[in-house]
């Protein structure tokens, strides 16, 4: 079979599967909405919502129909990017107008942090190399690195900064930096840098990535075909790099959900007004359309990145095409 046709076939098949997943995942979200006790509209709107607004909501979410046709109604609207209007957080505005820009921010934060984690993991793996005695002693601390939840890291980090600034910088006659005592949203990029650092260290992201890449790199270094490439006098870097792409991309895609979850947490801690911050605010205020719209956006992103990773895998590894085509 022609390689390009094979690739196209794989891409198409994966896209179809992704679409199916999207329908399934949105159905789960919809069923969750419908599982609200009592009158669904009452349960999901803040107290004191006027009746006409409630009726409008019920119609938009298909709550006045049976679950299946209600789902189809809601899916039809959602597919066009119409998730209704915000109730509280930005009352009256379309959900996408509020959630979209915030989500882009979150995606950038999560994506850049994950990419940085990946590249640093690669660097660490190259420096650490084979498992040996000194790394046996590293595994203990490594578990602690793996275990610290991002909000604990964030709390320790901000408190540490706070103490540092208080103890040294202020007394030296310096101006208080903008991110003091808690970094606040502003034009400064510093809060984002800090959030990224916390994301990197929190939830074991970096340690996990490092372990994965290191195991792959060591397996490759000891692989027979690398010895064969050496023996014929060609450079091995090209071969190792190419063979690392697949595990690297897989690790990236599989960790994205964790990082997006972590982004929700660090945005809250650092008061960065991204999708995570918005989600928590909307959840607290029971601004239901915003919560649902954001949930769908997160899910779509995860499916899309998974799809993209599959396609990259198929491009790099001809065996994928053989398997899928």
């Amino acid at each position: 079979m022609n390689r390009v046709t094979g690739l196209l076939l794989v891409a198409l098949r994966r896209a179809a599967a992704g679409l199916l997943l999207l329908v399934g995942a949105s159905f789960i979200i919809y069923v969750t909405i419908r599982s609200a006790p009592g009158d669904a509209v009452d349960a999901i709107t803040p107290m004191g919502t006027p009746d006409d607004l409630k009726q409008k909501l019920a119609a938009e979410f298909g709550l006045d129909r049976d679950p299946l046709s209600g789902y189809v109604t809601w899916l039809g609207r959602s597919a066009t990017g119409d998730f209704g209007e915000s109730l509280v957080v930005a009352a009256g505005e379309p959900v996408m107008a509020v959630a979209g820009p915030a989500f882009v921010k979150t995606l950038a934060l999560a994506g850049v942090s994950l990419l940085a984690a990946g590249l640093l993991a690669l660097l660490g793996a190259m420096l650490l190399g084979d498992p040996s005695a000194r790394q046996q002693w590293l595994t203990g601390p490594l578990y602690f690195g793996t275990a610290a939840p991002s909000y604990v890291v964030a709390v320790l980090f901000t408190q540490g900064m706070n103490w540092f600034v208080h103890a040294f910088v202020e007394q030296g006659g310096y101006e208080t930096p903008v991110w003091y005592p808690i970094p606040i949203a502003s034009d400064s990029a510093m809060p984002y840098v800090f959030a990224g650092l916390v994301l990197l260290a929190g939830d074991g992201l970096y340690m996990d990535y490092l372990n994965t890449v290191r195991a792959e790199l060591n397996a490759l270094r000891n692989a027979q075909f690398i010895a064969a490439v050496r023996a014929k006098g060609a450079g091995v870097v090209r071969h190792i790099a190419r063979n690392l792409v697949v595990p690297f991309v897989s690790a990236f895609a599989s960790r994205l959900p964790i990082v997006l979850g972590g982004a929700v947490i660090v945005e809250y801690v650092f008061t960065l007004e991204g999708a995570g911050y918005l989600l928590l605010e909307a959840a607290r205020e029971r601004d239901f359309p915003v919560v649902v719209g954001l949930s769908v956006l997160f899910t779509v992103t995860i499916i899309a990145v998974g799809l993209l990773a599959d396609v990259v895998r198929a491009i790099v590894d001809p065996r994928e095409v053989a398997r899928g085509g």
Binding site: G129, D130, S132, A133, R134, N222, A223, Q224, F225, A227, A228, V229, R230, A231, K232, G233, A234, H239, R242, N243, V316, D317, P318, R319, A322
Partner: protein, 299 residues
């Protein structure tokens, strides 16, 4: 012998295992002349693979080579592979100083780099695992052609590569050129691997049990291919196997190894024709394969 391509003296290789240090190769000495095919015969664990891998500096594991000398002559100069590394080696011999491990490996690799391919190269067992799964046979073969002649034009490189595929009797060289390893059978992978190794135009080819894991008909084909490719004696070969028939068929001289030591060295003719007295182990190998002393040529 003046025209020795390879000389190994008193080579000792050890590895640390959970049950203590084990001596895998115990004072092996051997010589290989230009154009000669030397068979190394032994059961698994006899140290035959480690001996030959050490020639390429590809012994992985701790502590590895702990003593001895390896000399490769590439026609103009002599490379004493282990001489430059005595201090590091000695430290490695003392005990668990593992910090130097990768530094040592880098040193060996840097030293071996100019020799790999052009002077010596290898064909391993499990051909499928010897090929990069993500690159087409053509790409991997092209790499080898460029090792031998880095300045060749692109079209010429491709022509040479296809030529090599023909020389290892591939049916449809153009198709194989564009194929990936997973699309070929084990026998075809090994043919491709042989082409890739020979395309570097090495003076010494190391074949480490190249027929293990292949069907018996394919094995015969691969052995016949080696015999054909070595017929012009433009290169030497170390042929490692546990199959006495293969070794006798291909080699001029045979070294029999067991438990990391060389039991005996004899010419193939002498082994076949039962000239001279044999060590007990060799005799039992001959008897088991139906080539009992005095039976004449049966290979």
């Amino acid at each position: 012998m003046s025209a020795n391509l390879l000389e190994i003296r008193d080579l000792v290789i050890e590895f640390d295992t959970p049950t203590g240090r084990r001596r895998v190769v115990d004072g092996v000495t051997l010589e290989l002349a230009e154009g000669e095919v030397l068979g190394i015969l032994g059961e698994s664990g006899s140290g035959k693979t480690m001996t030959t891998l050490s020639v390429l500096g590809l012994v992985a594991g701790r502590p590895g080579i702990v003593g001895g000398e390896i000399r490769l002559h590439d026609g103009t100069s002599t490379h004493a592979l282990l001489e430059a590394l005595p201090t590091v080696l000695r430290r490695r011999d003392d005990g668990p100083v593992r910090k130097d491990d990768r530094r040592w490996q880098r040193l060996v690799h840097r030293r071996m780099r100019p020799l790999w391919g052009r002077v010596a190269t290898a064909v391993f067992q499990n051909p499928r695992q010897s090929l990069d799964p993500l690159m087409s046979i053509g790409e991997q073969l092209t790499e080898s052609v460029r090792v031998a002649e880095p300045t060749l034009a692109k079209t010429e490189v491709r022509r040479r590569a296809l030529e090599w595929l023909e020389r290892v009797h591939m049916n449809d060289p153009a198709r194989v050129f564009a194929s990936y390893p997973h699309e070929l059978s084990g026998g075809m992978c090994q043919r491709a691997m042989i082409a890739i190794a020979l395309a570097c135009q090495p003076r010494l080819l190391i074949a480490d049990e190249p027929t293990t894991g292949l069907d018996s008909t394919v094995r015969a084909e691969i052995v016949a291919l080696f015999r054909e490719l070595m017929a012009d004696r433009r290169r030497s070969m170390l042929y490692i196997s546990h199959d006495i028939r293969e070794v006798l068929h291909l080699a001029d001289r045979v070294i029999v190894m067991r438990h990391g030591r060389v039991l005996e060295t004899a010419s193939s003719a002498a082994l076949r024709d039962g000239i001279g007295t044999r060590a007990e182990y060799t005799a039992s190998l001959l008897a088991a394969s139906g080539l009992a002393v005095g039976q004449g040529d049966a290979a």
